[in-house]
Amino acid sequence: MGTTAETLLAHLPIAIIVIPLAGAVACFVLPRAARALMAVLGIAGTVASGWLAADVLEHGARGYVVGGWAPPLGIALHADGLAAALVALTAVLMTVCGSLARPRRSGDAFFTSWLFAWAALAVVFLSDDAFNVYVGLELLGIASVALVASPGTRPALHAALRYLAAGLTGSLLYLLGAALLYASEGTLSFAGLEDAGGAPAAAALAFMTVGLLLKCAVFPLHGWLPGAHGCAPAPASAVLSGVVVKSGIYLIWRLWSDTLFGVPADAAANLLGALGVGALLWGAAMAWRAERLKIVIAYSTVSQLGYLVMAVPLLRTAGVEALAGVMLLAAAHAFAKAGCFLAAGAVLARRRSDRLETLAGLVSQMPIAAFALGVGTVSLVGLPPSGGFAGKWLLIQASFAVHAWWWAAVFIAGSLLSAAVLIRALAPAFEAAPADCASRAERAGASEWTALAIALGALALGPLAGPWTSLVTEGSIP
């Protein structure tokens, strides 16, 4: 038994990419079995990701050379703590939300795109090769656009087109950066870029960062996100906001936090931090004016992404503790946001509208959905005992540790701001139902219960922060 487990374990990184890929093709070729395939491969993928995370937690980072050629000739996968954690998070969200997806038309194409998005995320997190990541980002872009366009209505198509245009431009900038990097350093693998420096590397970093900022909708390049995440079906927007948008930020962390680029990047890192603050404020301001619940939640993604970008200067100075904090924030945000979107989707499905003024009586009619939204808000705002709080706590500690106390003030002001925004949106839900419609609590559907479960997952991340942070800081960025 030992050897087969050993060999299986050795092939885990590539297996995590191949399983969803095989699933996607299978869904495309056998349309009628799409849902069953999705379920089976979802579980297989989650098991593999969980196993990888456990293995990395125990034995540290695990590499894998694809095709037998080591870098710089071939492509290598590198599953360190950070990547394994994100892959596990992706697997959980993709499986849970996938089981909820009810595409009205062309289910096969929907699940094909769903699994392609999952595989692409695995590539982006695990691959150690800049160009391989480019193709992964592109596959992720196209699959996500397909998910956004799946409702088939005009606003959905318009949002999908805008998302695709932004994604294409972002990938192009990233490609140019990668080419410059390869030309100046002679290798495409991230690991080999330790001592990259000079004008070409700086230009490459600039292009790649702007491209990634565009792909993950960081202010001021966030225009496409609210429409896309607002129109997509609830399970899709849950995954888009929860994980897909974070893949770009993961790459930014990897590029900016390594000892990469001897280029004097501290000034630019603070610029990124300022962008993050801008995202926080702008996202909150726009969410304050939004009229639909899903749009408020989408704009809160723009503002929460500000936190993750704001952490870049901290990652460079405070290192491991900041990484643990920001990853905890990212995971808690993923679960809470997924919970909120699924609940909002259930509200939209049952009450035909998620406009804020029609939310009256939600607490009495759909208590489970309201409770999921409430718990999600608790984690998004970062109130104890949620994971959001633990993440914010670690970030504040990190900023105090490097005497950058203004970052601590920004984090706390940010959480108050998002509290104001989300409470303004959800307050009408507590009002009594208008006289005409029944105020009896109807039976909660599966999506409401799943929304509540995922939102409680974000809450549970608080007490369970220990294992997650030790996994994340396992053998990753020094």
Partner: protein
Amino acid sequence: MTSAGFVIYATAGVALIGAGAFGLARARDALRRIVAINVAALGVLTTMVALAARGGGEADPVTHAMVLTGLVVSASATALALALVRRMAHLRGEEDADGHDG
């Protein structure tokens, strides 16, 4: 391939990237935006091909492979974008028609 050739084609590539950026920033119409992105893509690919051939000897195959993959990837993304444009035009056409008699 002399380094003079590299300079010429690299500047052409950079100029195309600039044109693409200019077009993209100005474009209001979806079709124009897609064409602008493709112009910029051509610029990037040309710069890469020029980079591959900048050394005296044989051109670098890894960059060529990257360009080929980049070409196919941006072609399929453009195909999807154009399909979206055509579908929206079709829906808008249907809406106008239904709008009157609907």
